[in-house]
């Protein structure tokens, strides 16, 4: 009987979400945020990473006294170069668009002084700078090796080049935690809404005319919102998997998201019931929720790191302990809050 009441309350809140089509808006927002952050990284990385875009001609013109060394370095860095006898000739080729940039190398004391000229104010300039840096870093390595006798420590040899996606780290350390933690955050925010709305509209009184206690109302509203988050998380995990991003330890991730969702929902509910007004409660909720997320860095592992490590399969015992600890904390706090809600005098609203 009591379970039915709570489920009925939870169902009513979720139904109103879908009736107002806000749940569609919520999903759209999350897709947008994910797309936005992916655009930031993928878009920017493709500006940096010549392999990711069809960049066409990327030949550098080289000139100057020590251009043979430059050529050697370019070969190591895998960049095509074209020799020019003089700097002016290379410049001319640059101006005509035959080369993407010009590297002029001259001996200057004990060093090699290189002037790199790249196109101004265009998308290509980013790419040209990155390529020029590759060549020059290779040159630096070669020259360091040549001068090893004057160095006290030898530079560490560079490991072989990897055939890696530039987005791999981003996907797991930013995108996955973002998609997993946004739903709980929004759930908590809605918990504030559903409680303060009943209070401010005065409909809480109506609800209490029915044979339900305040604890039942709290249970129903909190559980409804706390369930939404893991469902959305599962949806994102499925979507990522379809897109070829393997997510490991789905079960642990869902447990983690549920625990975080329950924590923030309890936070939202307490704020809503204590303050009774949306403006104050919502403001405090966002400050505290963001603050807690930042302060979670004091844990041995930040929940976002935990999510990233679980998803990519680098979990440690600390990771598992964090998931279990957060779950225990969430359940404990929920039970305490239930007791607290039972002690509230509903007449005050």
């Amino acid at each position: 009987m009591f379970d039915d009441v709570r489920i009925a309350i939870a169902r009513r809140d979720i139904a109103s979400l879908s009736r107002e089509k806000t749940i569609v808006l919520a999903l759209a927002i999350q897709v947008f945020i994910a797309a936005f952050s992916s655009f930031l990284v993928v878009g920017l990385t493709s500006l940096y990473d010549p392999g990711s875009v069809e960049s066409g001609e990327l030949t550098f013109g080289v000139a100057g006294d020590t251009r043979t060394q430059l050529e050697e370095a370019a070969q190591e860095a895998g960049v095509e170069v074209q020799q020019y006898p003089t700097r002016a000739a290379a410049r001319e080729a640059f101006r005509r668009g035959e080369v993407v940039g010009v590297l002029t190398a001259d001996a200057s004391g004990d060093r090699i002084a290189v002037t790199a000229t790249v196109p101004d104010g265009s998308v290509q300039s980013t790419l040209a700078v990155v390529k020029a840096r590759d060549v020059l870093e290779a040159l630096e390595r070669i020259e360091r090796t040549n001068r090893a006798a004057s160095l006290e420590t030898d530079p560490v040899p560079l490991p072989p080049e990897a055939d890696a996606s530039s987005y791999f780290g981003f996907t797991y350390t930013v995108l996955v935690p973002l998609l997993l933690f946004l739903p709980p955050f929004i759930s908590g925010s809605i918990t504030v809404d559903v409680l303060t709305e009943e209070i401010e509209r005065g409909t809480l009184e109506l609800l209490r005319v029915a044979p339900v206690s305040l604890t039942d109302i709290f249970d129903g509203k909190a559980l409804g919102m706390a369930l939404l988050a893991p469902i959305q998380a599962l949806l994102w995990i499925a979507l990522l998997t379809v897109n070829g991003i393997t997510i490991q330890h789905t079960l642990s991730l869902v447990v983690l998201v549920s625990a975080v969702a329950l924590l923030v929902v309890v936070l939202g509910a307490v704020l809503g019931l204590v303050l009774g007004r949306r403006r104050q409660a919502q403001l405090l909720y966002s400050i505290i929720a963001l603050g807690l997320f930042g302060a979670a860095a004091l844990l041995p592992e930040h929940p976002a790191t935990v999510a990233a490590k679980l998803a990519v399969g680098s979990q440690t015992t600390v990771t598992t302990a964090t998931v279990l600890g957060l779950s225990a904390l969430a359940v404990g706090l929920y039970a305490t809050t239930r007791r607290y809600v039972g002690s509230i005098d509903p007449e005050q609203y």
Partner: protein, 630 residues
Amino acid sequence: MRPRKILRIARWEVTKNAGGIDRKTAAVIAVTLLVLGAAAPLVVAQGGVTLDEGFYRVGVDEESPLYPVVESDSTFAVRDPDAELGSDIDLRIRGTQVIASDSQKGQAALAELRSSVGSYNDRVMSAESNQSAAFPVTVTLEYAERNRTTGGTDTLDTNTVGDGTAPDSGTPEDGNDTGPVGDGDSNGTATDGSDGTTPGDSDGTGGADTGGSTGDGSTGGIGGIARGLTGSDAMTGTPSDISPPFPFQSLILAFLFIIPLNFVIQAYGSTMLSERLNRRGELMLVAPVSRGDIIAGKTLPYFLGALLFEGLIAGGVLFLQPDSGSGLYALAAVVPLVLLFLSATFLGAMFARSFKELTFVTVSITVGLTAYAFVPAIFTDVTPIALISPLTVVVRDIQGVAIEPLSLLLSTLPPLFTAGLFFVLGAGLYREEDLFTQRPIPLKVLDSLAGRIHRRRSVALVVILLMPLVILAELVAVAAVYPISMGLPQPIWLGLILLSIVVIEELAKSLPVYAGFVHNRYDRSLRSALAVGALAGLGFFVAEKGLLLVQLLGGLPDVQQAAVVSAGPTAGIGPAVGLLLLLAPLALHVVTASTSAIGMRSGRQGYVVGLTAAIVIHFVYNFSVVMLVV
């Protein structure tokens, strides 16, 4: 609008509004901030939030020369090299030999290790006594224009001529300098030269790298900060010091300006919506004050509060970045952004039916406007299209780049007008019928438009009013297509841009007409539809040509011009030809607006059909004209 009444309402909003900040809330907020404030230094002391700590597992023995590299980078977790490759470790290092597991993760770990070795070597080398052997290469990076089309030899720009073949040999003495040496300002302006001395600190050879979350973004070194848009700054350093033009640090600082706005609109949205609960706002509506007074009065405290926050941030940024601009431009550019946030929230609060819905509307506004402000600003140093966003002005001001008054106007006026439009539309809903009833959002949108339509000819006026929104939407559309389009052939991206512009324009022309039909402002006869359609087309034409006139007189910068004027197909055409073509767009707008008007006489489905037909006509016209001209 009477100032005294507005001020009084503003005072009420602060002190007496339904549950103003009472003592309990104030206490909770104070305690929260105190606790968080106490936690912040601890978090910072711990090295901040590093998301990728221990992300890759590397099996390495202590004798390996790579061991210190792995150990010093927190992205790697050190494991036993005998562990199972693939399931327990991602990389196995024996001596100098590195084996990656056969997976994406293994390859990514290898790439990360490679870049880690590079920065480790630089750190070790900077401690060497023989610096010229440790850093044998110095680089001077310079930017030069290139002009492939014109043949004249003199077009090669001047800054390349001056510095000859001997790059300043003054630098080699202290090769490990993290901050770049103020180098030869090979281009003219003195301000840019001093720019070159901005700190490359975040880049430092001293291990700042380890905090980076995604690996490559962390090297936001000299290039990004030192490089201005106005000229080509050269910079000097070791090879790893040079970096592409990307204003990393300034962007983060600019982001600071947006954060407080999100908290302000939270409170503002709640207060506006709470007026609508239990007919609370009715008391104010029957008081002898105008709608405008109420809205202005209730908005004023939040506007001032937001400006206070922004002022504090501007002061802080100035304090941290002594070489940045005056901060005044940044503040001036932030005002329209504040208004845009507030006005969008106001309109959202008028539309929302419940607190839940308001939350989603607020989050959408936050996300949408942040994207609008932030994404173009990323391209601050690359293309003038970045000026769409006022945040670009903020970034440039932080960088200390000179800002032309014209570009300030260009990036602030559209959002300012849009904010005004949102307030006007929202004010149309600030009346009893809409405040205290529950209507679906699409109907409310039509209500807000119909609030300004009284007879047929007011349709033209509403269409003109919508112009700032149209421009803003078009600019954002162009900015969104721009990065996507880089890899596509010209006809396709041109088509994409034109299509998005056409859709936006046709919606702007037809929605007011539709609102009028729904509210029975005029009858549904064919004659009436034609008349209203013609009026809408005329209104749009007048507004658009007004802009064209401004452009012909004032001379907008290139891309801005392209974006604004690609609205009309007369882009890039001289005044004389433009005059000849002036009448064609008029006919076009009238025809397309009438097409959708005729369709919408028979309800919503008819509207969709008519609108689609109008879009097709408009697109074909625009595409063929652009193809002819280009």
